[in-house]
């Protein structure tokens, strides 16, 4: 449902290549009745303001660069340092609170995305995933599998823990051929 809204919003704004999209999914357990409530919020916004086109533009084709491999590979260690840095600075002193953590996940993912973009790695697309949860004597397992090109694409992840919450951050970098 949220994805349709996201796509609609993106189509209305209609700018290719410079649109960022942010999605967050949250699970909250209702204490008294044992029911779970889902809330979904999506935010889409343009990076370049001042564009007044109402007529949808046709997709702009990327020019052929005749380049098969990237000039610069995805810097795994640099990105891991960024993740470490951001997670510790934002979450060092925090306690788990539903409202706070909801905002925190969105903020952290935006911050990480901005910093990775600053690295200016040409022709790479990024996906940043942040999960923050309460430590409450439960087991959680997160796994991922990717179908991509081993030589060019990579990922970097980091986990952070304090007394009341844990956070897992992953950045995937995929080369756009």
């Amino acid at each position: 449902m949220s994805d349709l809204a996201k796509e609609k919003a993106a189509r209305l704004l209609k700018k290719r290549g410079s649109v960022s999209s942010l999605g967050s999914h949250e699970v909250r357990a209702k204490d008294t009745f044992g029911k779970t409530k889902d809330s979904i919020s999506t935010v889409s916004y343009m990076e370049e303001p001042g564009h007044h086109d109402d007529i949808p533009r046709p997709t702009v084709q990327m020019e052929n660069t005749y380049r098969l491999t990237p000039t610069r590979r995805f810097p795994v260690i640099t990105v891991k340092d960024i993740l470490k840095d951001v997670l510790t600075s934002y979450l060092q002193e925090e306690k788990y609170e539903p409202e706070l953590c909801r905002q925190m996940t969105k903020t952290i993912s935006e911050v990480v995305k901005a910093r990775v973009k600053d690295l200016m790695i040409a022709r790479y697309k990024f996906i940043v995933i942040i999960s923050i949860g309460q430590i409450r004597d439960l087991n959680i397992r997160m796994g991922s599998r990717c179908l991509w090109d081993e030589t060019h694409d990579n990922f970097s992840s980091h986990t952070f823990k304090n007394s009341s919450l844990f956070a897992a951050a992953t950045v995937y970098g995929v080369y756009f051929e």
């Binding site: 960022s20 697309k125 940043v128 087991n139 397992r141 997160m142």
Partner: protein, 113 residues
Amino acid sequence: MDEDQSAEETTFVVDEITTVIKEVVESTIGNSSYQHSKINQWMSNIVESSLNQLTKLGKPFKYIVTCIILQKNGAGLHTASSCFWDNTTDGSCTVRWENKTIYCSVSVFGLAI
């Protein structure tokens, strides 16, 4: 080559992917209760089968499938994702599935080649 046809083949179709993933999760965890010893196997199964089904769709996409399985214990979990990509061709979808004891969330990100 028809432009319309190529446009259809290279956009991320959320509904199709959601259906595929739901089937995979159902067939793997279906009616089971949370069992610590089986978690590893379930996780691998779900992710591998999802990827297999996605490749069978035959679209020119790179996929990233992430899966989170947790016990229902009253604790909360927040997940956010931020993506730097091409909005017209790339997309993501998340399938949340639950039963009495397990909570499972599978996200698929598709990036056009």
